[in-house]
Subunit: 887 residues, 2 copies
């Protein structure tokens, strides 16, 4: 028979701290503390396996469970010297959920179980405190009725309120024992009226009811949602802890509190916590009374109960020394005796995580590898962007998606042009658009932040903003923009051009007015963690950067090269887009070449600056990728203006715009399809790259190996043709400039056909760079810009565990990457492989890239530290796994 119940108490547990999978986090902690000789009220844990079986059995307890519980309850009685359901010295228990990973507040708890009309009297006698006994009873009825019987809290709150009103008081504590007795009677009447049955008096019936309710609460709506959002598997199930009650509310020699072994906000090495005298745990959480600090003040636990405090200090030190991590603990003091109710790793800010990890290495509690694992890469974002002052008041106007973290304060503008002219006059602006397009880039550049009403976490606005390290809130559907009148509206609130708003890119909130921000500083501890990470990682980390500024930021963050330099953003600068448009409107090759010759020196200048910033690190430059229509204006007035500027009739412009229109631009005339149909465009770009590199090599002694990347290849013949053209230009430049220079030519793998024919393609490529954004789009058949209509629903329903544009879909897209790497290397073992999609900055995706043996990942500048850390963690975890296998 499978063992479903594990006892702990009186210094000995059947379980251990390592058994989180079956005991849950709380159960494992209680078992471990008991084994450490720390005072823990005795109890037992029903395993997660019992819960899983319960669901598999159509919500019936698994065989054997019902037999295991009575003897274990008997043991609690023995340790406590009390008896369940007996009037003399009755045993009361708590019934609490406890999953493998903490899901705070999501599941149900029942306290004070075992009280009834008889045992409440026994409790009153034994504690000599009828008020306490009846207060506990009324709390129990209220909680049990809600959790097990499904009655709403407010029925009971109303009775309590009325009684307090009649007594002319606002505090529960001022109600007398008699008042509470009457309340108990009213509560019981309510139960009888609403359920048709008496409140159960049999403690065993109470216990079974509570156990079933806690199991069921694993699957309530909010628990399911929480798991979906946090990526916790639905099949894990929860453990249930049944534990003798201890009371922090028996009098003034009682208390209850929560504490952290170090400061969870700053990481400072000092005992940190709050407590309440004469209260139960829920009071601290509910915030009915304001808790006191446990130390450092006149009303602290340290001052009020010095002995208990010292005991607690000894316990916390023992726990931290044992777990070698900052602990989050819960305790209750009953008649001056300290009881521990929980210990677990404490949640902490990024800043605290970094400081604690580095301090613990200095204290020799952990080694550097452990320290590297202690910092959550995703959290680092907090350290790298300015944030809103957490102390500032915020009144939320509307909420969208947290598309790019950080905070931004500025005046509302509605177009890129407005943004530029306002900023020229010294203003700070927030660009508000339905969506952004590549034409808005210059406006995004000068704005403090971007707010869009459409588009998801990977919409144009979101991706570009993250690339710029700029705050962005996207997909804020409540916002109705009226471009014509220069205002937007959220329900009744109208916000006009020039009004101040504040964005919080980490929460997706937008607020009216200016809210104070703080600029976090990168500590020396941060530097230590990153340099330790670099000692471990194998993956190289490059950056996606299109400008000298981005390149410099990325290098400062530790980028080891540029994995993706997009050349199209350079085309959008107002001084250049005119020549680009001339090129597009050319009627023949020679007109096109004339326009291209205007662009050549500008592109060359860009490349020189970027090469200089990267100081000889590798730079992968992607030739022009987007469809040409992106460069043409669409609006009537813009077309008129362009017509005048270029002296081309409007009708011809319109015809061109019409001719270039596409039903599905994502699958349209772009990438190397442009290079093949208009070879002169790529020739100009290659010439600019090579001349830039040659001039720097010749004049400034730089050693650069440009990596020229052909986008959107699906068939080897495309790459063969483009490689031939490219090499020809490269050789011409080298010959003309009389410089010896290496270069390499590779391709993006961003189409399923490229992956499945990667062996053929590799014969023509020096490197593969996986464009995981487009590869995700074509693999799933999802348009990144349209998926917002169903993806949230998919995540909510659990059809997809993650947004595949945020975290790489390993089963599908990942399988294609793996296939392409295998096929590519089968014909060319020297093939260099990396990824350059948004996933390069996602920790789980970085881990995957490490595992399948890529050479590098490339991500936006502000994500470089995240990738460095994630890459190091991948190595360390792999070693741990290998170590375990070796044992």
């Amino acid at each position: 028979m499978k063992k479903f119940v594990y006892f702990f108490g009186a210094g000995k547990s059947e379980g251990t701290g390592a058994m989180k999978e079956i005991l849950g986090g709380k159960g494992a902690g209680l078992a471990e503390m008991t084994n450490l000789g720390i005072p823990v009220p005795p109890g037992f844990t029903i395993t997660t396996e019992a819960c899983t079986s319960y669901y598999q059995n159509g919500e019936k307890y698994p065989e054997g469970l019902e037999q295991e519980i009575p003897p274990n309850l008997r043991k609690i009685e023995e340790v406590m010297g009390a008896q369940f359901g007996k009037k003399e010295n009755p045993l009361l228990v708590s019934v609490r959920s406890g999953a493998r990973i903490s899901m705070p507040g999501m599941m149900d708890t029942v306290l004070n179980l075992g009280l009834n009309d008889v045992t409440v009297e026994g409790l009153a006698t034994r504690t000599n405190n009828p008020r306490f006994a009846y207060d506990s009873y009324r709390r129990f009825i209220q909680m049990y009725s809600n959790v097990v019987l499904g009655l709403e809290h407010h029925h009971f709150e109303k009775i309590l309120e009325e009684k307090k009103q009649r007594r002319g008081t606002t505090l529960d504590t001022e109600l007398s024992a008699d008042d509470l007795k009457e309340i108990v009677t009213s509560f019981k009447n309510t139960v009888r009226r609403d359920t048709g049955k008496d409140f159960p008096q049999d403690p065993w019936q109470q216990l079974w009811g509570a156990l079933g309710a806690v199991f069921l609460s694993w699957n309530n709506r909010r628990a399911r949602d929480y798991r979906t959002i946090n990526g916790i598997p639905h099949h894990w199930g929860t453990a249930v802890n049944v534990q003798a009650m201890v009371f922090g509310n028996m009098g003034d020699d009682c208390a209850t509190g929560v504490a952290f072994t170090r400061n969870p906000s700053t990481g400072e090495h000092c005992f940190f916590g709050e407590y309440l005298i004469n209260a139960q745990g829920e009071d601290v959480v509910a915030g009915i009374r304001t808790p006191q600090s446990i130390n450092g003040t006149a009303n602290s636990l340290e001052k009020k109960m010095p002995e208990a405090y010292q005991t607690l200090v000894a316990i916390y030190q023992k726990l931290e020394g044992h777990y070698r991590d900052m602990q989050d603990i819960e305790f209750t003091i009953q008649n001056n005796k300290v009881w521990m109710l929980q210990t677990r790793s404490g949640k902490r800010t990024a800043q605290a995580a970094v400081k604690i990890a580095v301090d613990m290495v200095a204290e020799r509690l952990i080694d550097k590898a452990q320290a590297v694992l202690r910092v959550d890469p995703a959290q680092l974002d907090q350290l790298l962007h300015p944030t809103l002052d957490p102390k500032a008041q915020r009144k939320v106007l509307c909420k969208g998606l947290p598309a790019s973290p950080g905070a931004a304060v500025g005046q509302v503008v509605f177009s890129a042009e407005e943004a530029e002219s306002w900023v020229e006059r010294g203003a700070k602006v927030i660009l508000v658009r339905q969506e952004t397009s590549p034409e808005d880039i210059h406006g995004m550049h000068v704005a403090q932040g971007i707010l869009t009403t459409r588009g998801g976490m990977t919409s144009h606005a979101a991706v570009v903003a993250r690339g710029m390290g700029k705050c962005c809130v996207s997909g804020c559907a409540d916002v109705q923009i009226d471009y014509q009148h220069g205002q937007f509206q959220v329900r009744d609130q109208v916000v006009k051009r020039g009004d101040w708003i504040t964005l919080d890119g980490s929460t997706g909130e937008a607020m009216l007015g200016k809210i104070a921000t703080i600029q976090p500083k990168l500590s020396g501890d941060f530097g230590s963690i990153m340099s330790w990470a670099d000692e471990y990682r194998r993956l190289r980390i490059r950056t996606n950067a299109d400008t000298p500024t981005d390149s410099r930021i990325a290098r400062d963050f530790g980028a080891e090269g540029i994995g993706l330099c997009r050349t199209e953003h350079m085309f959008f600068e107002p001084t250049r887009v005119e020549a680009v448009r001339e090129m597009i409107l050319a009627e023949n090759e020679s007109e096109r070449n004339r326009a291209l010759s205007k662009i050549l020196p500008m592109q060359k200048g860009d490349f020189k600056e970027i090469f200089r910033e990267m100081k000889g690190l590798p730079v992968t430059i992607r030739l022009l990728d987007p469809p040409l229509h992106e460069f043409l204006p669409q609006g009537e007035s813009e077309l008129d203006e362009l017509s005048k500027k270029l002296q081309v009739p409007v009708i011809r412009l319109k015809a061109k715009v019409e001719a270039l229109k596409e039903f599905n631009p994502m699958l349209g005339h772009r990438g190397c399809r442009l290079g093949i149909t208009f070879p002169e465009i790529y020739r100009m770009q290659v010439k600019a790259i090579m001349e830039a590199a040659c001039e720097l090599a010749r004049d400034e002694g730089f050693k650069i190996i440009p990596e020229i990347m052909i986008p959107l290849v699906g068939h080897v013949n495309e790459l063969t043709a483009m490689r031939r053209e490219t090499e020809q230009v490269c050789q011409e430049v080298i010959k003309d400039m009389k410089v010896s220079l290496e270069y390499c030519i590779g391709t993006m793998i961003e189409l399923p056909r490229a992956a499945i024919t990667a062996d053929a393609i590799a014969t023509q490529a020096d490197f593969f760079s996986f464009g995981t954004n487009d590869l995700t789009q074509t693999t799933f058949g999802f348009s990144r810009d349209d998926a917002g209509k169903f993806l949230p629903h998919y995540i909510e329903k659990g059809i997809l565990a993650h947004d595949p544009f945020v975290t790489l879909d390993q089963e599908g897209v990942g399988a294609f990457i793996q296939m392409a790497v295998d096929k590519g290397k089968s014909v060319k073992s020297s093939l260099k492989v990396g990824i350059c999609g948004e996933h390069g900055g996602d920790p789980a995706s970085v881990e995957f890239c490490h595992r399948i043996g890529l050479d590098y990942v490339s991500c936006s500048p502000y994500r470089v530290p995240i990738a460095r850390l994630a890459a190091a963690q991948a190595v360390i975890r792999e070693k741990v796994t290998e170590g375990l296998k070796g044992e």
Copy 2:
């Protein structure tokens, strides 16, 4: 040393008819005829391998070739008793290209080689015919100068014309020997003037020049284009045949002609051909004089040269008996002696192909398997659609793509509504649109044919028209439509609403006015071929049909079920689209259900009719696939109208249209993504399908197993969820109607992610149907509607061998299909697999589907016979290959 030259002559050849790969078609035919004892002027063939080496060597002859030629020329001299370059009885030769597969007129030929100022006199003396000798010389100079020296024909034509004018004649034959001598002098002067050198007098120099020119002509522009279009590999190379000249132009006992051993238009079993007395072969082809029939008339060869004719009859019978196929032969009669210059399988119409194949089985020349192989499946289209009378005059107005074959005559209309109202009044119309959309279906249905100005062979118009078996010319870029004034313009020609035009869907031409059409009849021979095909094939052939009419046509053509019944076309009928729009505009589930309940009985009626037509054959019904915005009108006036009809404010309609807009609808909110977000739509459809099947089973004793197909699945969880919903509805209907009915639930595989996770998906699917249209789009990242901007260029440049939307891309898309079949069957061996894209009617794709073991292909009704034949050929060819392997 490799042998590069093969001699034939005097009844013996070094080569045989089986050596087409190295001797080319012409060379192999000459060798075989020689071996059969048929009179062939002696000569030798230089192999295709020599040509390949020539190109690999940087256009130099391979080692050994130059040594092999003189001894072989010597042998010709011996057989002919003539000498190359000698005045007495000079040997003249022809130099002709000859690839493995005939590429008529694409490569170069030089005749009369060996003539110079000396040998021409010898020829004149020996033939006693100076006029003939100088005519041959001037022809040689003209041809050689063009082919080898690169001079334009018109230089020489001009001289000839001037001479004729001065002589007051229009016929070459009326020029005297002296005239021709003067012309020769002028020709030589022209060569000297334009090339700076004398016309070469050394016959060996002439020969080497001609050989090089013929090799080079393999790679001229028109030959390359021809190969690209016809899928002939560029690396094959051409053979070169050097052969003693015989002359049909030496006098009235000379003639030249071409003939077919049976009638190539009708297949009738009779000798069929044309000839000219006193002429060279090129005169027949050039059409300068009108040739005479070889038999059946007073001027026939039969009458004029009865002996020669009888010899020819004996030869043709011998050849047909030997080759067991209809032959296309070329002959020359010199002084009453018949010489054969070529034999090859004759090209023929579909009608002829069918008749000849069936006749030859009756004549015991071939067996049924060979007969089945003799008909080109792609050609069958000709038999199934009405065509323009080939005798009718046609003046082409403009030319687009031959999108759907057949002919159509009708009056021009510009919208689906116009089409309907005109047809109601008894008119025949051609629908002319920039492009069509699903909203135009009802107009397309009633139109005779469709002309579009945009879109390729697989645009909406093309695909739907082929599905309907309706003539369509697409992408006719010269046509400028002016909807406002109800007219279109091609250059200066204006065509108004109501004007008559004629379309030829087999050539892509549009003509003004009414041109006569003919309705081909399906012969008994056709039935024989198809029934023989059915004896061989393993693949089942289903059809893509959405209406009872299509279903009936397809069943008449031999469809064994419906592989794809799209339900969305049913939604577009004017009486229904209103309810559909109501459903889309619904604010909540109950409003949506109310609208759906109006659609349910209509859908049920559709399904019943289709089930009845298919008489118990399997029917696969795909649940709603397109994005909802396709069902909403876009124009202002249509929106106004809808607003009035549904009593919904225009502003709300516009907001809905706006909200449903997508950047890339192909990758948007469609397929099962709709089913998951609006489950009530699929529930209604499943209910309609099941109620229809149950009612027919209960009331009419039908045995139907509906196959319900969930579109656009990319992740198994999507199918799991949809299967659960679907089964629930199925069970409910079966329970309500108290009928026992089997059904199965499967999915389209049309996304790369579905292919690579097909093992997971197969656990939830009873069948896979490969949607090769969408799978091609996502695999390549090509939008079918936009690829027209670069695909033609890709085909032209040889980057892709075929349009992947027409012929399945076996390396990429095919590899995904293979992968999905393997993965799917690895977990479920009973999985049924088929394809239902446009490729189901493409012979090469059908062969692929057979080879990888699919159970069926499904294609548009008019393509069913093509698929049946192609499937049979696949089996027969496979057996031949296996037989060869077994040897």
